[in-house]
């Protein structure tokens, strides 16, 4: 006859393999989704009047990146926000043992996207959050040693002001010529 503690231990052993599988999947999923760029389809803001924009906004962009670390300071993996000149977009994959979760990296990514579209950017707003995995280890200290930090930036792309002004001047000149 087993005691309830022995039954509990048996249940724990039976759960070890599924939990280990979940852990591996978690690493794969987490690593795959470290950095992402969400953009509206071009033209989805057409028809909406926008304050502080002399022209119609082209699209809205949200860039997010997540980093995983050990003891709050040792980086394990983070989103790759480096600009890829060939693809004209950020890499978006994962950088192992690096910490690219920061305002500077996000700002650079946003500005690169704006430049690649020949746009200015308005209504820039950052957000961030941090968490530990303490809850995943049911109050144990192991989960608390690992944590993740998340940052994102939202912005609206508008045609460059200089470009808009020159367009207006040429429109006026064309109108005058007619």
């Amino acid at each position: 006859m087993k005691t309830k503690y022995e039954n509990f231990a048996d249940a724990g052993r039976a759960l070890f393999k599924p939990l280990a599988f979940v852990g591996v999947m978690a690493l794969l999923v987490g690593a795959a989704g470290c950095a992402s760029v969400y953009r509206t389809t071009p033209g989805s803001l057409t028809g909406m009047g926008y304050k502080d924009a002399d022209a119609i906004p082209l699209e809205q962009v949200y860039i997010t990146t997540t980093g995983y670390h050990f003891l709050w300071s040792i980086p394990l993996a983070s989103g790759d926000l480096r600009w890829n000149d060939e693809k004209q977009s950020i890499n978006g994959g994962t950088c192992l043992f690096s910490d690219m979760v920061g305002v500077d990296e996000l700002q650079n990514a946003l500005l690169k996207i704006a430049e690649s579209r020949n746009c200015d950017v308005i209504d820039v707003m950052f957000d961030d959050s941090d968490t530990t995995f303490a809850s995943l280890s049911y109050g144990g200290i192991v989960g608390a040693l690992f944590g993740s930090s998340h940052m994102g930036v939202s912005g609206v792309l508008v045609p460059k002001k200089a470009q808009t002004e020159s367009q207006e001047v040429s429109d006026i000149q064309e109108g005058g010529a007619k």
């Binding site: 939990l19 987490g30 957000d127």
Partner: protein
């Protein structure tokens, strides 16, 4: 185990409901743009994805209704409608509800992915958009 699965499914489906609201600006207080807004607008939509890839269920954008608020158990299975584009669809409906031709300001979006609640099995994807509606 079966009860746990039912409970998890019910929790997930309940969380799929999308939420949108227009809050009328019934005050003479000006914003930092020096204008008096017509209303504030916020919309959030959720979807759930198995391992962050396979869509399980999703809330839907706001396209109809006679009230300034939409908080509905409005679920579509095996689809992902929680996108910034669909939040702009909800915003267009809000602009229609606000009446007339309006401008928007301070448009912000936030996208959240939460795997932790399900031990990384199911991703809870949330897209939130907010703005001010100006005359």
């Amino acid at each position: 185990m079966r009860k746990f699965l039912y409970a998890a499914a019910a929790l997930a489906l309940a969380g799929c409901s999308s939420y949108s609201e227009i809050a009328r600006w019934d005050s003479d207080t000006l914003t930092n743009d020096g204008e008096k807004p017509v209303a504030s607008f916020i919309t959030q939509n959720f979807s759930y994805q198995l391992f962050g890839v396979i869509p399980l269920c999703t809330g839907l954008p706001w396209t109809e209704g006679d009230e300034d608020i939409m908080d509905e158990f409005n679920v579509k299975f095996f689809a992902d409608e929680a996108t910034i584009d669909n939040n702009l669809v909800s915003l267009r409906h809000a602009l229609d509800r606000a009446g007339g031709s309006h401008r928007i300001a301070q448009l912000h979006t936030k996208v959240d992915n939460d795997y932790f609640w399900s031990l990384f099995i199911v991703n809870r994807h949330e897209v939130r958009t907010q703005c001010l509606i100006l005359p």
